[in-house]
Symmetry: C2
Subunit: 510 residues, 2 copies
């Protein structure tokens, strides 16, 4: 008997539930601008935590942040045929630089201010950053170049869904150039591993890291790797990608260097990115029927204190008691950082605030009433153990000092528990399947099918197209070929019957 | 006798010197995209420090960060006439959402993919944020709303100059809504004060905070305040603005609330922003003929260690010595934060690296050679005392332990010294002037004229237009009316002869 649940449960309608978490947890909202959302403070606070923690890792691996222009001249895209083919259909194009009156009380782009060359709003920055690399790189001594930028990008999506697929989104994009293909491949895999570790440690999101099949490669890449997360409805979310670009972009943009022997070579480049899409993954992995549950490492506030004020003279003492508690908690260190504790003094009823923070997914909510204060106690709600077996809210009265002493361990326990729960689900949702009939059977039942783990012969060209078409008929895609395969497990490809070269994961995806 | 100076001195050509600092210090470069620059790692690192320090202050005053769309429908702008009038001439307009082949091997905006309503790339976000405020605010209980965003904005500038005026720039824009005009005015001035304190404390940039005259107000504002900094060529740089918008935007966007008595009222709103322009101010206030000098609080690296490597077996011991030094320095705390020390192991000659860091303006550069190491010493260069009286580089050999013990005090001394030097210059460059003839005389000599401090009667309408025209003929503008005037100092307005109501600063500006 769960009270105060969201308007819709995961079981009843997962898509509607996802939307209701975003609304009820004040994460984001429609903006009135087609396909673009407003990220509200709680949602943006989670993104700021993601930025801080991932940025530390990007810098620790030797990368420096830069900033490149939002606008990219059309001609930059024309140089790499596959790349432009991949993005041309979804590009926002700036054609004018001034507005004038339309004579009817409104405004219109000024025909006198038409740009000679249209500008594309960046969908990704390989072309403009590659142009800079060509200026920066002359000699082997200039390599490697290891840079990253935090930016907004625009891909004009016809069907949008908040956080998962929006016309404008926020991301980081790393771009590097190296002297040899091996170094660039190593970089590509190093950043894939940074993403895996970050997703698992910080977002409590267990993922499978692996290589995407040829048909799912980034336009212009030689190889694309991804981390794939398992949502509660059994679908996959590609949560980050890392690309080995070989010399494709270096040829298109003339990124050359003189090697130690004085000969000119093209550089090998990489790119890699994660975006606000990750927040969609956090919602669909950790949310429950009461709202979001934010892993403590990325929670803007890890502990929220709600005093039960009564508009009475005793309120002042209660606020003082809560302020002292906040100060004591903030002195603690959990998960390697000072504890982030908020005292919520907004003018609203305590019960409204409590449920607001439960829906937002603050890891720990502490309520303090007059009786708690008199006994030197507080009432503690752990977001990961919201209800008792009997369906009642699990609010526990504990001594204030004990809570302060336990807070760090509690937060660490919540972080670990969320990961474990998701990890168990991931493992339980991947099934080895021996043949195509098994795949058909597995996905005939549409309820949380998970992923099939199958052998394949890694076909290319027309043979791959045929595989993709068969999968597409069942709304399936190959997610990736997990890393670390030993090749010991041999057998026939489920598609071609030829000897398999590796195992791949197949599933439905966002 | 200063060696290794930039290609041009401040005295010879201030504008060319400014440009050479940006190039030689690797701060930024032209991107190939008209009016847009690439911000390189050292320049972006300074911006990241600015963001971190200012963001802390914005949050400490109760504001939360959000993110709003890059694109704003044309119709949003049409609602506030003054506002659109102010920005229409410099707006980048998106008209298409897809590219197609032009049949000649190139690409062109797809005529089939023309947007029904053109989208403007935000020049500032009052209109789109106001639309959100109208959704969020229903009751007096919802007020105040205090938000901020870090974002890129675009104003199509015909004449651009790196950091000072670029078509795209990075900034923060705060937007707030309040129940009463007094609260909104208080907020406007509170954030002006946050900017003043931030500029002086963190950027070591002494500024004059004051109210802009009516003709310099933000389009749609009731009152605009600024902080104005004095560049070394005597010109002013408006380094931040804070606007009281009254109910102008609330009327245009229907931001209404029910007050405690149940009546509907329009909210009073504010907005305030600073941008990457501040970096231009840091260059023009603290730079010298050897390059940039970065105040320690905003230096990405405060201390850079350059080992004098010789490609010899002894190098390993020298690197270990330097690593130990770096670790010891990093344990220290200066200006309230852990010291940021870099060990520069890039493959380049030590002298090249030394001059590179001098040009970049790292506050302290430490060179370590074999002889230094043998004696337990290091050679220290303070960027604020680069040369001795005799013109030789002031590199001082000190015991390593003494350097570690003194580093924090040294950094604090550099921060304070840069501020003092700039503050002395600011004070020396403002001259009280009693009449218009005095203004003409002061600005007849074009060399570093500084600002005139004059009485005026604060005329409006046509009388103000006449004042503006007289000033414009001398390339002058009213910078602001400094805060905290007591009104005790009376006399005639230098323009109208009428009794003055306040003093204003007049000068040339960027």
């Amino acid at each position: 008997m769960i009270k105060r649940a969201l308007p819709v449960t995961r079981e009843a309608d997962f898509a509607a539930w996802y939307q209701s978490v975003i609304t009820e947890a004040d994460l984001a909202e429609e903006s009135g601008v087609r396909g673009c959302m407003v990220i509200r403070p709680w949602g943006y606070g989670i993104w700021e935590r993601i930025q801080r923690l991932l940025d530390d890792r990007i810098k620790a691996t030797g990368h420096e942040n830069c900033y490149f222009p939002l606008f990219i001249p059309l001609s930059y895209f024309e140089k790499e045929a596959e790349h432009v083919e991949g993005f041309a259909k979804e590009m926002a194009v700036v054609t004018h630089h001034r507005l004038v009156s339309d004579g009817k009380g409104g405004l219109t782009p000024d025909p006198e201010a038409k740009l000679e060359e249209p500008l594309v709003v960046r969908p990704t920055s390989e072309t403009v950053i590659g142009t800079a690399f060509a200026r920066w790189i002359q000699s082997w001594r200039d390599l490697p170049v290891l840079i990253n930028q935090w930016a907004n990008v625009v891909r004009w999506e016809m069907r949008t869904r908040m956080f998962l697929r929006t016309s404008e989104f926020l991301w980081q994009e790393g771009h590097t150039a190296h002297a040899t293909p091996q170094e660039a491949r190593d970089e590509t895999l190093k950043m894939l591993e940074v993403y895996r570790e970050f997703a698992e440690t910080c977002l409590a999101l267990p993922v499978v890291a692996g290589e995407k099949p040829e048909n799912e490669r980034f336009p212009g890449a030689v190889a694309t790797y991804s981390i794939e997360a398992m949502m509660q409805d059994g679908k996959a979310l590609q949560a980050g990608t890392s690309h080995f670009l070989g010399t494709n972009f270096a040829h298109a943009q003339n990124i050359r260097f003189q090697n130690a022997e004085g000969q000119f070579e093209h550089a090998n480049t990489t790119s890699w990115g994660v975006s606000t899409r990750m927040i969609g993954g956090v919602i669909m992995v950790h949310g429950d029927d009461a709202g979001l549950r934010v892993p403590p490492r990325i929670a803007p506030w890890q502990i929220v204190i709600v005093p039960m004020l009564r508009d009475a003279p005793e309120d002042a003492a209660l606020v003082d008691y809560c302020k002292a508690l906040q100060a004591e908690l903030a002195k603690g260190v959990a998960l390697g950082e000072p504890i982030r504790a908020l005292l919520d003094l907004k003018p609203a009823k305590a019960a409204t605030k409590r449920w607001g923070w439960v829906k937002k997914g603050a890891p720990i909510v502490i309520e303090v009433g007059g009786r708690d204060m008199a006994g030197g106690n507080v009432s503690v709600i752990r977001r990961d153990r919201l209800y008792r077996e009997d369906g009642k809210l699990d609010s526990q009265v504990v001594a204030k000092d004990a809570l302060v002493a336990d807070a760090a361990a509690m937060l660490e326990g919540i972080q670990a528990g969320l990961f474990e729960e998701a990890h168990d689900r991931l493992r339980a949702s991947i099934a080895p399947v021996e043949d195509w009939a098994g795949v058909e059977a597995m996905f005939a039942d549409a309820t949380k099918p998970g992923w099939a783990d199958v052998r394949w012969s890694k076909p290319t060209g027309a043979a791959l197209d045929a595989v993709v078409a068969r999968l597409k008929a069942l709304k399936l895609t190959i997610r990736n070929a997990p890393m670390g395969q030993t090749g010991a497990d041999s057998g026939p490809c489920i598609f071609t019957g030829e000897p398999a070269v590796e195992r791949v994961l197949i599933g439905r995806a966002y």
